[in-house]
């Protein structure tokens, strides 16, 4: 009799663990999922499609990438740090459409950096077009 009373008391003291397990499983699933989210940073080139060709009477600012890794603008070789000032000083109209012409063999890393510098200089839209071999 005495023993039974004791066991009853210990029953009451016991914590119900099932909600705890529920919660732990939910948190586990949540954190597994949260780590699989893709968190990318990058640059977006929002160029307008050629729906209004009349809005571009002047030639857009064009950068050319040679296979050897040079950046050419109007035939002269320029450095990466010269792009942003060039774009900044360009006419407002040509800022809307900057063209990066890449020759086969040039590196995507350099092309991305050219686009990045052009955006830094205030470019609104950049189009990347491949040159024929």
């Amino acid at each position: 009799m005495k023993r039974r009373a004791h066991s009853l008391a210990s029953d009451q003291a016991e914590i119900n663990v099932s909600p705890l397990i529920d919660m732990v499983f939910i948190l586990l699933i949540f954190f597994i999922v949260a780590t699989s989210f893709v968190n990318e940073v990058g640059i977006t080139s929002q160029y307008k499609d050629s729906a209004s060709p009349s809005s571009q009477p002047n030639t857009p600012l064009t950068f050319e990438l040679s296979p050897s890794g040079q950046i050419l603008q109007n035939g002269t070789s320029i450095g990466l740090e010269e792009i942003a000032p060039l774009v900044r000083n360009a006419q407002e109209k040509s800022k809307d459409s900057i063209i990066v012409r890449v020759s086969p063999g040039s590196k995507a890393g350099l092309a991305t950096e050219v686009m990045d510098q052009a955006i830094r200089g205030g470019a609104k839209a950049i189009k990347m077009s491949p040159l024929p071999k």
């Binding site: 080139s45 990438l65 590196k107 092309a111 686009m115 990045d116 491949p130």
Partner: protein, 127 residues
């Protein structure tokens, strides 16, 4: 007193299940298939955080295009975007290796442009 306790329905398991379903649907809506290749991203100073729920393509150093863990051809890109987007106009993010061919990257962007509202290039985090 005891009768009343029996009559009231215990709602906590219901809430549990509803929460699990809620999390499941949130997750399945934002799930993206990774290209499944390791690339070294190019640097950029103006890099901004891109939209999470986007279609990913990878261009590797060997000038191969990957999507969802398998190699794909350049001409398949618009079809794949259409299949992955399911009329929800998802943006496209291209993970390019910095030593990949820029002409191929330009071609992939041009192909993706046909179907996607915006095409971005994934870069390293600016310091």
């Amino acid at each position: 007193m005891e009768d009343q306790e029996d009559e009231s329905i215990n709602v906590s398991p219901l809430i549990d299940v509803v929460f699990i379903l809620l999390i499941f649907f949130i997750v399945s809506a934002t799930f993206v298939s990774l290209p499944g290749v390791e690339i070294s991203r190019p640097n950029a100073q103006t890099a901004k955080s891109l939209q999470k729920n986007s279609i990913l393509f990878a261009v590797t150093e060997e000038d191969l295009i990957y999507h969802g863990g398998t190699e794909v051809q350049l001409t398949e890109v618009p079809t794949l975007i259409e299949a992955a987007s399911k009329d929800r106009n998802k943006p496209v993010v291209i993970q390019t290796d910095q030593w990949a061919d820029a002409a191929l990257l330009a071609k992939v962007i041009a192909q993706a442009r046909k179907k996607a509202p915006s095409v971005s290039i994934a870069t390293r985090k600016p310091r």
